[in-house]
Every structure is written in C-alpha cells, then in structure tokens.
Assembly symmetry: C2
Homo-oligomer: 525 residues x 2
C-alpha cells in the first residue's frame, strides 16, 4: 500500500482541494511527503450522505458478519506491515517498540469488540410476555433491544496515532454498535491515518460491507470537524483531546436542531494520594515508580499522574528527594508535535512564575527539537485550595506535589478536585481507615480508582472505565476504553405486539443466537 | 395528614415567603385553599446542600434497605387515603377512578424499582481478575460497578399528578439509583404534591434515611426551577413537559461550569400507520379504537395518537366516516389547567386557518370551564411534507389524518417525521412486506413500535421504552418509564487492585448478594 495523500469518501480515495499541509517528524523537524490537501464542505456532505445511506444496511447485517468485519480490519492493519510502523514513528516521534505495541493494542481492541458483538450482551434484550388474562387490563407482549444511534463522527487523537485514532477505540466501539463512522484525521499523523483508513476500506470490501460504513476526512484546521458535527446525519461524536476542543464540539452539538451526544475525553490530572503509612514504609520505591509513570512517553497520556498529595513532613521529604534524584537523570523525550511542545513549555513557564509553587526537580535538557524536559513542582494544600490554575492539566511530564498539614487537608484537597479519569491511593494495611474516608470522595471525582499502582497503562477489558466526571469527560456515565464503550452508541427500542416475522432475530422467542436475555426481569440464557 | 401549604426542605416543612398562588379546580374554576407561597433561592440552596450532604450516606445504605424505603413510600402514599384522591381530583379535573388507578400505578412503580434495586442487575458488576503471570505485562485486578450520579432535580408533570410527579417515575428511578431527589412541584397540583412529599418524608423517617434524601420546592414561576438546575450540587435532571420547557432546562444544564444530563420528555405526535390491507378489512374497528385512544383523558397523554397516515381512497374514506361518527358523540372533557385549554384552542384555531388542512370532525361542545372539544383534521402527504408546522404536537384530543397517494409517499412521510415516543402500524398478514420496509424507518424515529394497538396506555415493566429521538426526548438513549429508567442516573466506576476491605460488597469475590456479574466477559451468578 502506498501513501498518496488521499481521503476516503466511502470507497473512493480522493485528494482534497484545499490548502496543502505536511506532516512533520517531531524528532527532527523534517517535513514528510506527500502533501495532504484539506477536504471541502462538500466532501463532508458526501461522507455523511454515504454513512446515512449505509446505516440501515450495516446495522441489520448479522452480528457474526459484523464481528468478522472488525477482525478483518485488525488483519488488514497488520498486513500493512512496516510501512505503517515506520510512518507512525516518523509522524509521532514515538519509539518503534511503542508503535508496535500500540498496533497490537489496536488489533486487540478490534478483536475484543468482535467478541462483544457476538456475545450480544450489549443488546440488553428483554422480554415481558403478554398476559392476555390479566385484570383489570391485559398486558401486551413487550420486547426491548438496543439499536445503534446512527453515523458517528470520530476525531483522531494525537497521542495514540493507532489505538485512539482512525481504527482506535472510538471507531471500533462505534462500528461494533452498528454505527457507520466518519473519522476526521488528526493533522499530526495524516499518513498513518490514510494507511489505516485504507485498511478499513479493504476489510469492508472483503466483508461486503455497504459503502459509507467508513469515511476519512482531512483538514488542517477546525472547520470541517465543526461541519461534520453539525451535519444532521451525524448522531454522536467521539473525541479525545484538549478541554477547549471538547468544549467547542459540545457547543456545536448542543446548538444543533437535533442535539446529539458528544463523548469527549478532555482533561485530567490524575491525583495520587500518598497515605501516611505507605509513604513512611515505601518512600523510595514509590518515588521510583512515580518517576517512571510520570516520564513514560514524555508524559503524553490522559492518565499521566500530574498531582501527588502527601502529608507534609520527613517522609514526604524523603519521597521528594528520591524523586529529584530519579528525575534529574531522566532523558528529555520527543513530544508529539511542536504545538504540544510549545504548550508544555508555556505551562511550565507559568508555573515557574507562580509564587505559590516551587520547583522541586527537572529532568535532563536537550537541544534536539521538541524534547520534553520533565519538571516537578510543589506547593501547599492551602495554596492549592485557593489557586484554581494549579488544578489545570499540563500535557507532558510535569507534576505538582501538594503538601498537606493534616488529614483534614488531605480530604479537602480531594473534595476540591474537578472530575478526573483516575485517582490513586498508595496505602498499607495501617492506612485503611483513612482510605475508607477518602474512597467515597474519590468515587465522586473519578472514573477509575487504583491502589498501589500508577494510572498510566490502561487495560482494555470488560471492567475498565476510562471516563469520569467533567472535565475529565463530557459524559461521566460511560467509558471510552474497554468493552463497555459500545454502550455509548446505542439507544433502547421497545417492540409491542409485533408479529413474529417482523421481530428482530435477537428478540424472537426461540433465541437462536443463544443470548442472555431478561425474561420478566430475570436473566435467562 | 393536613394540607397546609408547606414545602419540604429535608425534614423541615416550611412555608415559602414569595408571592402566594392557589390551585384551581379546572372543572369548575374554583380556587382551592390554602395559598402556596413560592420558595426563595435560599430555599433551593438549602435543599441542595442537604441533598449533597445526604448523597454518600444514602448511596451506601445496603440495597435491601434502599428497596424497603421505596416500598415504604408506596405504603405511605396509600395511607394518605381519600384526602389524596380528592385533592388530586380537584386539582386536575381527572375522574376519581383515573386518579385511583394512577395511585396504583405510582405504588406499583415504586415496588417495581424496589425489586430492581434488590436484583442489582443495574450495577452491571464486572470482574476481570488479575493475571500476574501474563506476558509481556501482568494484568491488574479490575472490577466495575455503577454508582449514582448525585442529587437529581425532578420537575413534576401536569398530566400525571401522581405517576409522573412528586413520587412518580423520575423520582422512583432516581431514588432507586441511590440519588437524593429535589422535586420542583408543578404549580397546578400543589396540594397533591405536598401530600405525597410528606408521605416520602414519613417513609424516609421510618426507614432512617439521611435528611436531604428528598426535598420539595414550590414556585409559581420558572425562576427556582432554573436555579435548581444551575446549582452545582445537582447532577441530573428529570422533566416531563413542553418542548419549550425542556429546551430551556437543556440550555441551563449545558451552560453550567459542569454540564449535566437532562432527561426531558417533551413532544411527540405518535404516528399511526394504517397499512392498506388492515385498513380494507378493519376500517370500522380501527376507527372506533382510534377515537377511544384519541379522546381518552382529553388527549392529555404524551403518547396520544396525533397523526394517522393512510393510503388515500375508499378504505380511508370509510375510516374517516366511521371516525367522524364516533367523534361527534364524544363528550368534551375537562383539561388539566386553563393554560393547557387555551393552548389547545389556539392550536386548533391555527389549524382551522391553515388552508393545507381541512376539518374532518369535532366532538361535542361544552359551556363548562376548560372543556376540550375533540377535533380531527386531514391533509395530503404532499402538504404535510412541505409544512413543518403540521408536525407540531397539539396537546389534547386533536389529530391529523394524512392521505398518501402511493406507498412511496407512505415511506416519505415516515422519513420526514421528527423523533417520536411511539410509532404504530395497523397491519394484516398481507401487509408484512410494506411493514418490513417501514420498520427500519420507524426504528430510527421512535422509542416504541406497536402493531395493531394504540400507543396510549404505557405498561410499566422491564421491556418498556418511553423515550425516543429528539424532540420526543432530550436523550434518546434511555427511557423514563419502566425498570430501565434507573440507568439514567448511574455512572460506571472501575476499581483497580483495591484491597478486599475497601471493595464495595457488590464487587467482593464471594458475591454475598448473589448478583449476576460479568466475569471475564461471561455472565455468572
């Protein structure tokens, strides 16, 4: 497969007609061929019409065929081979091993959703049989299943050029739900996007999926993304990126004639609470694992631990000294884009001029382009509670240590936090009383609560929640990672007294798919 | 229990301090004592603080106790006895038998949700056990459950003074989810609201629920409702009412610093499609049952059949003649409020001056106050497709018949519709081909699809969906009637590597509650 600078409008690979942009290798500053020309509003309209037209056909394809399509997408991504890995490395500055691992995760996600599609649990099939003899009124035959919302707009994320981009988690879960997908490619990795997009189209072709089940749009700016979200054919949006970007999409979606759900994963500082006994016993080990988590991937993870909360005193000083020693030897790593690197440096600059915080340690400098020098700050709980800017996410390898003078301050800091993707407690058995006090506060703040680990490294499984109260996400009810992500793209439909030939197969009395269904309120297989 | 004009701020029954308003008996125009004084912004703040404070305590009460609380609310409503029935009749103009039936439904809903709470299926408990030996990376122990969103604001509906008001479906499902509830009473039935509110507080007292689990606010206008939705303590909103009212709440919720979900059930004309063979064979019976559904309760149901779509010709003429005969004998019934009656008459007036429609039949007139004269109009599909005003809901016993010149026009009318709560097909075996074409269109438009019935009469069960795409509701993913309504007030939380003593009982390995849980992706009991 060649990289040719083409968008995908259904099965048609076409070049845009707008202004040309090029990817850049952030590690070297090198411009990468070919040019990617932005699409037009007409291109968005074409993709939306194709998706709308494909919707009924795609959603009514047997589940087994839908599952096979997802598995074939995984295969076609692997078939792309080294060209994909090399291009993604060049466009992202991420190491080859990381990209290969991410490719594995991307394929694993697609296969997980294939198994989810087959299980049919997401249908939440329910049957309340008719009661013709009930008094005073008979009961009708009532059956419920979930159907897909309709075409979904997905925005590729910069920090996972494979796993949260063109065939990433949002796309996999939307396709699994039965929704056609239109991806707005992230301008930082257009070549990777084109290759993966073509792999999806190749799989769609092999599996005889209707044209329009997938399209891919390029735009160097924000106009076409806005146009896409505003298009009446689009029924939901998946986005991973900045708070400003997510809020902009939420506003567009809310102002439509028909408002639609937006699943935006935006901003999280992932607090880590060092409970007193764990800190006393493990200050050195905690510092080493914290620095590893903080600096992994230049800190460019949604779950990067950006806030550490501990009891002021000698044990926390030990932790900070150990952290300083480890961090001062950490290499500056390439960030994903020059913009992200500039934003990081600006945020660090602001913190350096904030008299409420002091610098604890920095990592090694580098004169190479776009390298992230890790930075660690500290402040007091009192300062943190009065300066809201200290709760803002800094995307990159930066964190803030908060020193608490009392257990009450510990709890106050937790209560003061905005919504988070994760919250972590480092604890020993002797910390359980405090942890029991802290836990209900953290449950109100975060989508995932960890003990004695670090939040980076998100397992793709059934029990994962990668979500959380605003501003971590725009919709705290759901997750964007793991099999429950399919639930975002579904709505419930009830069928009352339908003749058997009209009933969807999932709700026919004989249960030929072997689904687990709720019969009169009780699970039956 | 006396009716004394009191709001409920937690356990405190207090009179408001704003302007006094009185309920009116719509059947007679009589003013009903006592005066209800509007609350203040401080009252809203007090209720919100109490709810916020009660939240952790309430959500962590064992499920069995939460279920008993709901059942006790049902008992306490019954204990109110005749004073409740008489007051609800006086405030709504609805017949006593209807109010008694609605009381039974209200109690039934509370008991259904008690059984749902006990089942724990809504927790969607999932366990992915640790895999310490997995390569290249071990897997953590990951467990998921759903927790309640937080305090919920509920707006009482005018048309169900019991079943969709103070202790109605929204309140029952939110309390079942573990959310404290603050109800903004509907100004048309303050006495009914006060009585039921006091029954809830009495049950909360008997069951030792934390203060703040329930509050009740009065306001003659819209200010306190807006204040309530804007309060940071409120995490979700339940509303049944007009499109304008629902949109106003959606806007307030979207503009908050932390946007929250609004479940507004707003507007639906509930199309009924008369398929050709059914119409030919059953024109007379279809007409009789249609008129019964149209005029029931003066047409004041969200699911009132406001649109009938049929193939132009002799069979449809038969249907219209039979409908005219039945409707012309239908008594004018009391509407819920003078405002609703005025709105109805205004809408009828607009249709009468619309040259695209003609009047088919009217019901009997009445000189008594606030009586609804049923009215039936007809138009052509061509007109309907070009005049969007013909798709607006008329709240009351009014419907529009659309005459289609072809099967394609039939489908076009379906495709042209906005989102609906229900869509109905009247069909015979010979209509199955057309029904198969129509069904996917209707699935995209409606939350419930019926065959050979009428949409009024909403069963409260597990498979019910009382929801649908905008503007039927603000959130098509869910239902406001039936046990799945609990899902609206929940969010997923993942627990990673928590020590056993910290794990919620629902997720402890021994499964002492006997829940159905997803273990590594497979249901286990």
């Amino acid at each position: 497969m060649n990289i040719s600078g083409e968008m995908l409008l259904g099965n048609c690979a076409v070049k845009g007609s707008g202004s040309p942009t090029y990817a850049q290798n952030p590690a070297t500053g090198e411009k990468l061929e070919p040019a990617y020309l932005s699409g037009t509003k007409d291109d968005v309209q074409t993709a939306c019409e194709l998706a709308d037209k494909a919707f009924d056909a795609y959603r009514n394809i047997p589940l087994e065929e839908r599952a096979t399509f997802l598995e074939t997408v995984a295969t076609e991504i692997l078939v792309l081979g080294d060209i994909l890995v090399q291009r993604a490395v060049a466009e992202s500055g991420l190491p080859q091993a990381r990209i290969e691992g991410e490719r594995g995760r991307t394929m694993g996600q697609l296969k997980l959703f294939a198994s989810v599609v087959r299980s049919g649990n997401w249908l939440d099939a329910r049957i309340d049989p008719a009661m013709p003899d009930r008094t005073p009124l008979p009961r009708s035959d009532l059956r419920l299943r979930h159907i897909p919302l309709g075409p979904v707009a997905v925005f590729g994320a910069s920090n996972f050029p494979l796993a949260f981009s063109v065939a990433g988690g949002d796309t996999a879960s939307a396709l699994a739900a039965g929704c056609p997908v239109i991806v707005k490619a992230h301008p930082a990795h257009p070549g990777t996007s084109e290759l993966v997009g073509k792999a999806i189209i190749s799989a769609a072709d092999k599996c005889h999926m209707p044209e329009g089940v997938f399209s891919l749009i390029f735009d160097s700016g924000h106009d076409l993304g806005a146009e896409l979200v505003a298009n009446p054919a689009i029924k939901a949006v998946g986005f991973t990126g900045s708070r400003a970007g997510g809020l902009a999409l939420m506003n567009i979606a809310a102002e439509r004639r028909e408002p639609i759900p937006v699943y935006a994963e935006m901003s999280s500082i992932n607090p880590v609470f060092l409970l007193p006994n764990a800190l006393r016993e493990r200050a050195s080990a905690l510092a080493a694992s914290f620095v590893a988590s903080l600096t992994m991937g230049a800190g460019q993870f949604c779950t990067n631990p950006g806030l550490v909360v501990g009891p002021a005193g000698d044990d926390l000083s030990d932790f900070m000294n150990n952290t300083r020693a480890a961090l001062s030897e950490s290499q500056a790593q390439t960030m994903l884009t020059a913009n992200i690197h500039n934003s990081y440096n600006n945020s660090i600059g602001e913190l350096l001029t904030n008299r409420a915080v002091s610098e604890v340690a920095t990592g090694l400098e580098s004169t190479e382009p776009n390298r992230c020098q890790a930075t660690l700050f500290s402040t007091t709980a009192a300062q943190f509670l009065t300066d809201d800017s200290l709760g803002n996410e800094v995307f990159g390898a930066s964190a803030l240590i908060i020193q608490c003078d009392s257990i009450d301050e510990f709890i106050k800091v937790a209560e003061h936090l905005e919504g988070q993707l994760t919250a972590t407690m480092q604890l020993n058995d002797d910390d359980l009383d405090l942890a029991t006090r802290l836990l209900p506060v953290l449950e109100r703040k975060a989508g995932r609560i960890l003990c004695n680990g670090y939040p980076t490294g998100v397992e793709v499984c059934h029990a994962m929640v990668h979500g959380g109260p605003f501003p971590a996400t725009s919709d705290s009810r759901t997750t964007s990672v793991g099999s429950a992500a399919i639930l975002r793209f579904l709505r419930a439909v009830c069928y009352q007294d339908l003749p058997a030939p009209l009933l969807p197969v999932e709700l026919q009395t004989e249960n030929s798919l072997g689904l687990t269904r709720l019969l009169d309120g009780t699970y039956q297989t």
